[in-house]
Symmetry: C2
Subunit: 438 residues, 2 copies
């Protein structure tokens, strides 16, 4: 009798984004005439740029000619793209060998699969809040206990709590952990690790023989030259860090699918031989994967050409302007907003102590703006929502207008309600005191 | 201290195809003037057809326009493609719901990942010989013991031995197994399961609560109308079978990357709830995957249009003619060849009792033809090599000519050598007898 992998049953509720989709569909069905403003999923909206389009069309043409057709490529990625990515790192002073770079179909798949390199018994540490894939992939792999619905966490995982005090980027813990997922710029908080914060983590990893999985999918949104865009900008990090990144947000490849992982030769664990982790990931990709789409890879080569990078920077600037437009409006209404400086996400405290999903529902009801509930990213996200800056400018402006028009009114009512309930609480207290005296 | 997934160390030698690549590179380096005839890897060589090219270009154009750009798609695949695939199945009398179909980046990834649905303790049965991914993915997942180099097998796996007597398609075993991988048309043997053989397996699976993983990546090479192209053509199979398939060989998408898995609602195990396996695969794909490239998906929609199917059939016919050309030449030389009727692979017995890799090396040395050693697909492949029919016609003809010119000579010498050694053995025996008598 075949038996299921029961770890799947541990997974809490549905995956975040499908659940948002369900609520939005439900709302739309009940209000078919109302336009929905989608600031929820971090999904690119602007068209691919001319240089990239030329790269993609060029490869399709090549596939149509007998002389230039290619079938299976190297599972690790085409040499041209790996070399172009090495040059891309070299620009920021990071030296890599092309064989340390593994082209993939995106950072999400790599982020989910990378845990397979490590033994079951490793203690896993994950930022809270964080992109759900780090947790979910380890749950499915059986590295956690059950979900504790009250605490909103899985037993057996070490959570690195972000909060306003640590700038949403936790310092290394006192206890020993083995594999640490760090995401900077962070999704969902938009927080970016400073050089000092990353250095502290690298020292921790080297001191404890831990491995850092560094998700740099949003690196290109960093404009502050003081902030590291790659973890390899920190000294001595190759022996303790894997970096995952992506063309998704950089070049609008969310649907085209292209990313890469860096697994340095120098990376090691207590029980590894020289270069073994690099060879293991090579074996993993050769066995469980068959290379990213060759068309996408030609798009990637175009994206990191000089013209491609120029166009990508313009795309990034466009989304960052969106972020500033949204942030200004939210702050005008008195909401507490962080992020959005070097990341396309705004992290917004819910007003009046509302829960994340409550504020999500209110925003949908009152303003038809879809955001992402902070709790979808972990228990420490409770009391926050994420606004994404991806969208056409006019849609961002319409969303902002709807927030200005409708949320203001609701916030006032909410505040009146709050004052009224505070007044009632005061009266009750007063009456109690009176009766006590009597 | 982080620790490795030590299951990787159990994996025997390098992955088959990289090892072939290494030997060919070594030979080429030593003989830079000799042309290599590659009949090894089953890699498509003919250009994409006009209808598919139009589909791909059309999607690239759409991604370049603000109005038609799309970002993340559904992880399960675009609705248009899922519906087109349902229609494709309907043509052969198989009724599926689009939500039972999961578009992927190819059958290899699905074949490697599908084991994740099942508990660690399931007993896994795999055809011997078979495509290496079924075994390797279960080794990495920890469902086997160590590799027994003498027997050429991993302990803990049940192997279903193919041989000339069972037409290289084993009947269900006497013992109980839980998850069974079947590939038809089989890679490497080219054997195709008959309706009766599949029915026996379905009865076994229903009787024992086993699940069949049916790899139908080469289904479109079946021209005999009596042979099932989908396992769902067998009665009552939805409750016990998953089907994996691909656009790779059908439409030349080996590098474009597109495939799909069918996980029926009705599929069940002893411990599953209604539809749970379908929901689990949905969750797996939503967590570990982010959809196939949207460009490739538009190519897929074009490939299963009427014009696309017509063109794909011509492509398949072209490769099948290659198969017949190779087969005729090998048989002329007196070699024992099976397969190649409804599959693009020929399964050839090595002459004079040579080992698979020995014959591989001899073919490379004598004829510069690269094949695939049968042992690369499992211990039962020893004494066989696989010839692939993928190639430009003129290259196939050149390979065949080189075999005719050079192998003939070598085979004759080999046969003389054999006769001589038999003569020597005879003499030795005779002398022994004489000395015994003396």
């Amino acid at each position: 009798m075949a038996k299921l992998n029961h770890n799947y049953r541990k997974l809490s509720a549905g995956y975040l984004f499908p659940e948002i989709g369900r609520r939005v569909r439900e709302y739309s069905a009940a209000h078919p005439d109302q336009a929905i403003h989608r600031l929820g999923i971090g999904n690119t909206t602007e068209p691919l740029t001319p240089t990239i389009l030329a790269g993609l069309h060029g490869r399709v043409d090549a596939l149509g000619q007998r002389e230039t057709y290619t079938g299976y490529g190297d599972e690790q990625g085409e040499t041209e793209l790996r070399e172009a990515l090495v040059a891309y790192y070299a620009e920021r002073g990071v030296a890599l060998d092309p064989r340390e770079l593994f082209v993939s179909d995106g950072a999400k798949a790599d982020a989910a699969n990378i845990q397979n390199l490590f033994a079951q018994e490793n203690v896993i540490a994950i930022q809270n809040p964080a992109y759900p894939v780090y947790v979910d992939s380890n749950v499915v792999a059986g590295r956690t206990g059950e979900y504790d619905a009250n605490a909103g966490v899985y037993t057996g995982l070490t959570l690195l709590e972000g909060n306003p005090e640590n700038g949403w980027f936790a310092a290394p813990p006192a206890e020993k952990v083995d594999v640490v997922y760090l995401c900077s710029p962070n999704n969902p908080t938009g927080a970016v690790a400073t050089r000092e914060q990353l250095t502290a983590w690298v020292e921790y990893a080297r001191g404890h023989g831990a491995v850092i999985i560094f998700d740099a999918a949003y690196a290109e949104f960093i404009s502050d030259p003081e902030l590291p865009r790659s973890i390899y900008e920190i000294e001595g990090v190759k022996e303790c860090a894997i970096e995952l990144t992506s063309f998704s947000k950089l070049s609008g490849f969310t649907g085209v699918r292209l990313g890469w992982a860096v697994v340095p030769y120098a990376l090691r664990t207590e029980d590894s031989e020289d270069g073994e982790l690099n060879r293991m990931w090579n074996r993993r990709q050769s066995t469980f994967f068959n290379g990213a789409s060759n068309i996408a890879q030609s798009g990637g080569v175009a994206a990191v050409s000089d013209a491609g990078k120029r166009e990508s920077r313009e795309l990034v600037a466009y989304y960052m302007e969106n972020a500033w437009i949204i942030r200004a409006a939210l702050r005008e209404l008195g909401l507490d907003v962080t992020g959005g400086d070097n990341a396309p996400y705004l992290w917004v405290k819910t007003p009046g102590g509302l829960g994340s999903w409550e504020f999500f529902d209110q925003l949908l009801e009152q303003t038809q703006v879809v955001v992402t509930p902070g709790t979808g990213f972990g228990s420490a996200g409770e009391g926050y929502v994420r606004f994404s800056a991806f969208g056409h400018r006019e849609n961002i402006e319409a969303a902002v207008q709807s927030i200005r028009d409708n949320l203001k009114f609701w916030l006032r009512a909410k505040s009146r309600e709050l004052k009224r309930s505070q007044f009632l609480v005061g009266c009750t207290r007063h009456l109690k005191l009176e009766s006590h005296r009597a």
